[in-house]
Amino acid sequence: MSEILPIIVAKYNYWLYIILMMIGLYAMISKNNLIKKLVGMNIFQTSIILFYVSIGYKTNATIPIIENAHGDSHSPHELIIHAADYINPLPHVLMLTAIVVSVATFGVALALAVKIYQRYQTLEEDEIRMRLTEE
């Protein structure tokens, strides 16, 4: 136990994302309501974003905006920048994209859900299935 504990503590963000991912996946698979499934889907996506953001984190580093560059931008070459001082920006960039993708998907999925509701007057999957077998 004493060996496992440091691993868990050292990487607890990675564990957290796994927990959230499972929550999302669970909701997507076992929930009956289409909108609940959508929520699960979003939790699933955010958990992956959390994972990426965790990759980029560096201890004792600051946000990825170069200090002192503001104002004296005429002489950028004189600036000495240590990579270890700033958090890795690349995962953030990737995740900006992922967030936008997820909201786009969410919008389209909600539009579909509204359309389905218009047709079947319900959002419960089993009720829709019943309506389909009736017809």
Binding site: F44, T105, R119
Partner: protein, 490 residues
């Protein structure tokens, strides 16, 4: 200057045209369709030029925004991309020409905006095929997915949105798994460029994270391509989509995903890792075997022509996955050749299907009676496509099967070879059942002579072209293999 920019033009031409279509749909509706056609024409030209260049000078690298590869995004076009690009763009163009009437009939008022989304979908497919960056691939994957959700939902009024929403759920899981896999690769190597990753991975071969990264990438791609146990979304989604959409989804979507799988296998992870370090190959070939049989058997149970064809797609995916995972040159050749061939033959079948839908509205088996009399030309195309699926020479389906079976023999995977043969037989049964229905079954109205009511010429000519191309690609498959696939594999 243009010479060096062809890789960008490939993608930009449909993207810009999509934007223009969207603008025109508000102010100059008549311009939408011509814009779409012209843009795909330009793209097609570019793809031919790219293919020529690649064949002459080898791999083309194009730096987006001018940054060198591991920093920036790179388009990397080798022989495999080039041929798939040509395939994607030409099918998209032919489909657009062939489906003009069908779009007007099924989508009506919104058809101008529809062209925009169609072009975006093509942009996504082209981008996926051309890109050399793992994350860029994800973004483009999402573009294709999002556009296909919208396109599918525009089909059948009752079932379309539901099928589409199910596709959203599963599609998002697939894409997220892929993203997660890329994340694992990134955390271990720090790079996103495919070639760069490939050069960094060998030192990490023993790592469990790399293994899991690989598994997640594959799972994601398999979900997207509908490999057998993960196929549940495909039949409904493709069946309830509008004709024009299922005509492009069916031949291209799954095939492009197979391309991505092969790209990851060959370029990123490499054969050495897959077949020497991992012990997955045999299991995957077994999975493919089951996929082939299950797809064919499930197709037997269908009473609707379109749905039957969608299950055949599930079956065909098994061919390509199995072939790629045989782990020898012949199998891989067969898999790549089958990407081309299967796209063409599925396209021919769906073109014919679209013509039938255009005239008859429904393709339930009961409605197909006497079809050979009603639409002889359409059915001629359909028959050729069907023969190709069954694998009757000299149609192209036979030749890819040839390589696949030889590959299976070389590997000793006799179960896979057996599945290929059995699926041929099952497909023969499936299609001859359709032929029988179309050819006979005018017992009820023997006195009524069947009047011909053929689809419009603009829908027939593309069908004719594509079905002839089945034979031509079949006969020239050796040049495809010798000039494109084998040099690529070496």
């Amino acid at each position: 200057m243009i010479n060096t920019n062809y890789p960008a033009i490939l993608v930009l031409s449909p993207l810009l045209a999509a934007l223009m279509c969207s603008i025109f749909s508000w102010c100059a509706k008549k311009l939408c369709y011509p814009t779409a056609i012209i843009s795909l024409g330009i793209s097609l030209y570019a793809s031919i030029e790219v293919l020529m260049q690649v064949m002459d000078t080898g791999t083309i690298q194009y730096r987006m925004a001018g940054w060198a590869p591991p920093m920036g995004i790179e388009y990397r076009i080798d022989l495999l991309n080039a041929i798939v690009l040509l395939l994607v763009i030409s099918i998209a163009l032919i489909n657009l020409v062939a489906s003009y009437q069908s779009v007007n009939q099924e989508i009506g008022k919104k058809s101008n905006t529809f062209y925009a989304i169609y072009l975006l979908f093509v942009t996504g497919l082209v981008g996926i095929t051309a890109t050399g960056d793992l994350f860029n691939l994800y973004v483009l994957l999402e573009i294709t997915s999002l556009t296909s959700y919208a396109q599918i939902a525009m089909g059948d009024k009752d079932r379309g949105p539901l099928a589409s929403l199910n596709y959203v759920f599963i599609g998002v899981i697939g894409a997220s798994f892929y993203l997660l896999g890329v994340g694992y690769i990134y955390i271990m190597t720090g790079s996103l460029n495919m070639v760069d990753v490939a050069s960094l991975l060998p030192s990490l071969h023993g790592s469990s994270a790399v293994l899991v990264a690989f598994i997640f990438c594959m799972l994601g791609i398999w979900i997207k391509m509908a490999l057998f146990p993960l196929h549940v979304w495909l039949p409904n989604a493709y069946t309830y989509a509008p004709t024009v959409v299922s005509r492009i989804l069916a031949p291209l979507m799954t095939k492009v995903m197979v391309y991505v799988m092969i790209r990851l296998m060959i370029t990123v992870f490499g054969f050495e890792y897959l077949f020497e370090k991992l012990n997955l190959a045999e299991a995957v070939v077994w999975l493919a075997t089951i996929a082939i049989l299950a797809g064919a058997i499930m197709a037997m149970a269908q009473k609707d022509l379109k749905k039957m064809l969608t299950y055949i797609i599930v079956c065909e995916i098994g061919y390509m996955v199995g072939g790629a995972w045989l782990g020898n040159e012949l199998g891989m050749t067969g898999a790549i050749l089958h990407i081309v061939n299967d796209a063409l033959m599925t396209f021919a079948l769906f073109l014919a299907l679209g013509n039938i839908v255009y005239k008859l509205k429904s393709v339930h088996f009961d409605n197909l009676k006497g079809l050979f009399g009603k639409m002889p030309w359409t059915m001629a195309g359909f028959v050729l496509g069907a023969f190709s699926i069954i694998g009757i020479p000299p149609t192209c389906g036979f030749f890819s099967k040839w390589y696949l079976i030889l590959g299976a023999f070389e590997k000793g995977a006799y179960h896979f070879a057996g599945a290929l043969i059995i699926s041929s037989l099952l497909c023969a049964v499936l299609f001859f059942r359709i032929f029988e229905i179309g050819f006979f079954n005018n017992e009820h109205d023997e006195h009524n002579t069947i009047t011909m009511s053929e689809a419009p010429v603009s829908m027939l000519i593309p069908l004719g072209l594509v079905s002839l191309s089945l034979i031509i690609t079949g006969l020239y498959s050796s040049s495809i293999v010798n000039k494109i696939i084998l040099p690529f594999l070496q």
